[in-house]
């Protein structure tokens, strides 16, 4: 049988991802995580000397701490199975990627296992974040130098 013909049969018979349902779930879970983040930010604004803008740093750290607990107790993968991108896109998903890789590679020791593999999933996010920030800032700096735009 030809590959093309099989691909057609396979496409016909395989279940399609329920996109509408997945989107709604992602919206609810992602929205809820951000809402919890907003509550944590409010906590830091009210009880500590953080403004709306500076509160985002401790908020992010707290969210990653919560993600660590949920990951360790085996709950984050269930939330992610339900919420899909709703659990992956918030910073908790980044935390989950780091913590799950660390837990997984503990058996190889803390130096080679945890240290070497901690960022095996999240590393690409850091790479592309840093590189795109570099390119964007470089372009902007050059444009400002030539007087095309201002800061």
């Amino acid at each position: 049988m030809q590959q093309e013909k099989y691909a057609q049969i396979e496409k016909e018979l395989s279940p399609k991802p329920p996109i509408m349902k997945n989107v709604i779930k992602a919206f609810l879970i992602g929205g809820s995580i951000c809402l919890i983040g907003q509550f944590i930010a409010l906590f830091y604004i009210t009880y500590f000397d953080f403004t709306e803008r500076t509160a985002s740093n401790p908020t992010v750290a707290t969210m990653i701490f919560i993600a660590m607990l949920l990951t360790g107790f085996g709950l984050y993968k269930k939330i992610a199975q339900f919420g899909g991108a709703g659990a992956a896109v918030p910073i908790t998903g980044f935390g989950n990627a780091v913590v799950s890789a660390s837990i997984e590679h503990k058996s190889e020791g803390y130096v080679l296992g945890v240290g070497g593999n901690m960022f095996k999933l999240a590393g690409s996010v850091i790479l592309f974040g840093v590189f795109s920030a570099f390119v964007v800032a470089l372009i902007k700096t050059i444009l400002v130098k030539f007087g095309v735009v201002s800061w």
Binding site: Q3, P15, P17, G84, A85, A87, E104
Partner: protein, 339 residues
């Protein structure tokens, strides 16, 4: 005339005994749980790492099969096992612990059948009296090997399968009356239909199963109706559906005696998506449910058709397709002739 890949074992080697071990989740959720010989409270069998637990599963399965036949490891001529971890270390360590001459076999999830075929060849050629064949998988160890860390949250689609924590071993020897015997087998070719999704193994493996089934039927001059059941290894609900559609396309209209171990393993529980997978899945079902039904006479003749996806994490990350294989082996339960 020798037909490529088609084997007939004239001496009809026997399967004397089988041993199946399974993890705690399988014990709780599998419909075959009652038929497993041993299950563990802990997914790592109370050992420090997943891979250690994996070794223990295989080791215990072999010992259970031997103890049922009252054999000691020293009496066994060959150990033929395999699994999915890097370089098959769980099998290698098991072989060391048992100190049986050993050949590690890798046919991914088809190892249960490929090891039985090799064992039958050794027995048929009178190179060995007793051979143990088997395969195993451990969920955490295999998920980490092929996909993501166990605790990583990624949404699995409806075609994803759950790697089982289970091991199955069979003790194979010279022909004896009153035991299921190995009649013939077909070694499959690698079939690659260009599938690339590692979370949809069923559709990648279905064409290989269909190819080997057709080769077996034509090579041995059989029809589907000659078998009480034709049971595939771990196609899962999606792959099994496609496999049946391919069979219809190949002129096999009756597929009601088809079974799939992967689809049945967790009793169609939707939280396991398309069902079970892993080299322990086919071994556990073949050596528990199917073997016992042969012993009780419910099945007279069965075709075990184990499928394997021969990918590695490296190959699919490099954008390669998923090559797949299927091996078939035919077991019969002979009527015991009165002395």
């Amino acid at each position: 005339m020798v037909k490529r890949g088609v084997l007939t074992f004239h001496s009809k080697p026997s399967i004397y005994a089988t041993g199946v071990t399974a993890g705690p989740l399988e014990n709780k959720k599998s419909v075959f749980a009652q038929q497993f010989d041993k299950s563990y409270e802990d997914e790592r069998c109370d050992l420090p790492t997943n891979e250690d637990g994996h070794k223990q599963l295989m080791y215990d399965a072999v010992l259970i099969a031997l103890s049922k036949a009252k054999k000691q490891p020293e009496k066994i001529d060959f150990l033929l096992t395999g699994d999915l971890v890097n370089q098959m270390t769980p099998s290698n360590f098991t072989a060391h612990a048992l100190a049986i001459p050993y050949i590690g076999l890798f046919s991914a999830c088809a190892t249960s059948v490929s090891s039985m075929i090799t064992a039958a060849l050794l027995a048929d050629a009178k190179h060995a009296n007793w051979i143990v064949a088997g395969s195993s998988s451990q969920h955490n160890a295999i998920e980490r090997q092929f996909r993501y860390p166990v605790e990583y949250g990624s949404q699995k689609g409806a075609t994803a399968q759950w790697t089982v924590t289970a091991a199955g071993a069979a003790l194979i020897g010279q022909h004896t009356q009153g035991t299921p015997v190995i009649d013939c087998a077909t070694v499959g070719k690698v079939v690659d239909m260009g599938m690339t999704d590692p979370l949809n193994m069923g559709s990648a493996m279905a064409p290989a199963a269909s190819d080997t089934l057709m080769n077996h039927l034509t090579g041995h001059g059989k029809t589907v109706d000659d078998y009480d059941t034709i049971i595939t290894g771990d196609l899962g609900s999606n792959g099994f559906k496609i496999f049946k559609a391919l069979a219809n396309e190949n002129g096999l209209p009756h597929t009601k005696n088809f079974r799939d171990a992967g689809e049945e393993f967790y009793g169609n529980d939707p939280s396991f998506k398309a069902g079970a997978s892993g080299s322990g899945c086919s071994a556990a079902v073949f050596f528990s449910d199917v073997y016992q039904k042969l012993l009780t006479g419910e099945y007279k003749r069965v075709l075990l058709l184990a499928t394997g996806a021969l990918l590695s994490p490296l190959s699919f990350q490099q954008g390669d397709t998923i090559p797949c294989i299927a091996h078939a082996i035919e077991l019969t339960m002979e009527e015991v002739t009165a002395p």
